[in-house]
Symmetry: C2
Subunit: 285 residues, 2 copies
DNA sequence: GCCAATTACGAGCTGCGTAAAAATG
DNA sequence: CATTTTTACGCAGCTCGTAATTGGC
């Protein structure tokens, strides 16, 4: 069995290329490294180094061993944080999301769930690793995570509406399309995940004024720019319903409706009624 | 940094479920394990165990940590053999194959290549790991290995012929089909890899007498049963050409021709002219 | 003569075993 | 009373640092 510290020394040497520098970065003395590398060679029963009296360098095998050792050390480090994360999850439900919609709804449960919701949105490509490394127990996404180790259950739809000045000629429509919104300027909350790409792509010639949460409610109250909401409770500070000077009109394009999924590892046990409760409380429009 | 022996102890405990048994299997004393597990807990800064005065068991986190540790230890063990293999490959070209055809041809090179050819055929599903673990430097297959880390180069075709009694009514055909061979009994060398499945599947109602190399040449010489050869030099002991009492007839079905590939890691440097030499010397039919 | 690797030697740490204690059933 | 875990204590081995040695540019 090979002690880790020898692998550590090998990896560092492969980087630093001299025993002196290796000793330096590991905060030990040269002789220590000399002996360590000698020992590693006898343990692996392989020649890792070429030597000349005051010179030493890795053989091909040595390079290979160092590269393999590095992988192992990285996994070691991973193990430590994964175990820590796992332990944390045992006491507190960690919730992530790639889309802001479910946040408010989940916050209303967070006390009886003893849950903590990530303040930042996750990137799509990090969802699986976030679950597998036990950073989050469950991640809400607008797509079905396809991985043999995770369960993805459909929760409900999130449907986009635009809140438009009541005196606009479109204000009495029952629904509206992205095309019909062309050329307008919108106030948009900055951290809206995939919605951002969507509206930029689908609404031609539109301008978007991205705002933080605080500035947003101010702007909405004191301007006539249209802004977006969905059937899910908004995050905007102190803004519950569409103010009186706006009319909320659902957007009829199919892309304006996203399917929201809850994704969690097959091996993790979520609070039994979480999914059911979410589905029950899910706002219909 | 976590010493390996502590992970080893944890993994063993997760299996044995008692410190006494763990100590036993690791050939140390109980107190040693007690201290080890205490130390591991402080190093990971996580509660791995529940304790009662004379009882101890893993928490959920402990179970998880043990499972992760096991993976790590397995990789440790892998590292050792991979480095050994890699080192061996530096001096000797290791050659594997899933199909016997290329063997004789390669054996004729083996002295100037300083090569060693696996005596056993590889299983298809082990080809990639055989390469990645540096057991073999190059593997010959009858299919193109599709893996981002390996190069697969086409070498040539191996074409099946049947050697048939010269007095059979079919003996003067230029070619023959599997269908036309239906119902016959064949002498077949036992270790022919994918050819075995092929002939069993394609020749209806046929019987196959599988023989080792020694018995084979005897049987061929003293019987009139048909047997198979290909354009590649045969392995059969002391049998160079079709004996006079048989006629060699190529099989015209498309499945009777296999494409042979040489597969090797993108990171490994094969002897420069090996591939070229093989292609040059490859028998045409 | 300076720099890097190696060897020699002594010291301190650490993991181990023995012995003993505590608790459970 | 047997079994299991834990604590106490002393020893042995191992890794480290200091100091000295060797060889190269």
């Amino acid at each position: 069995m090979i002690p880790v510290y020898l692998l550590q020394e090998l990896v560092t040497f492969a980087d630093k290329r001299t025993l002196a520098a290796t000793a330096d970065t590991l905060h030990v003395t040269q002789p220590s490294i000399t002996r360590g590398m000698q020992k590693l060679e006898t343990l692996l029963d392989v020649q890792l180094f070429e030597r000349q009296p005051n010179k030493i360098w890795l053989t091909k095998t040595g390079e290979y061993a160092a590269q393999q050792a590095k992988q192992l050390l990285d996994l070691q480090a991973d193990l430590q944080v994964k175990v820590k994360n796992f332990d944390h999850q045992q006491r507190q439900l960690m919730i992530g999301m790639t889309i802001p919609g479910p946040r408010k709804l989940l916050q209303s449960y967070s006390s009886w769930l003893n849950a903590e919701i990530d303040s930042q949105l996750l990137d799509n490509k990090n969802v699986v690793s976030t679950l597998k490394d036990h950073v989050d127990s469950v991640v809400f996404t607008n797509f079905k995570v396809l991985d043999p180790a995770v369960t993805a259950v459909f929760i409900g739809h999130e449907n986009l509406s635009v809140n438009i000045d009541q005196f606009t000629f479109q204000a009495n429509q029952k629904t509206i399309t992205f095309q019909e919104l062309r050329g307008r300027t919108f106030i948009v909350y900055s951290d809206i995940g995939p919605w951002r790409d969507l509206i930029q792509r689908e609404i031609p010639d539109a301008k978007f004024m991205y705002q933080s949460s605080d500035a947003l409610s101010e702007l909405i109250a004191h301007s006539h720019y249209p802004y977006f909401t969905t059937n899910l409770p908004t995050r905007i500070n102190g803004l519950k319903e569409a103010p009186r000077n706006r009319v909320r009109i659902p957007i009829s394009d199919s892309q304006a409706s996203m399917s929201i999924y809850a994704n969690y590892l097959k091996t993790t046990q979520l609070p039994a009624n979480l999914i059911a409760t979410l589905k029950r409380d899910w706002p219909q429009n």
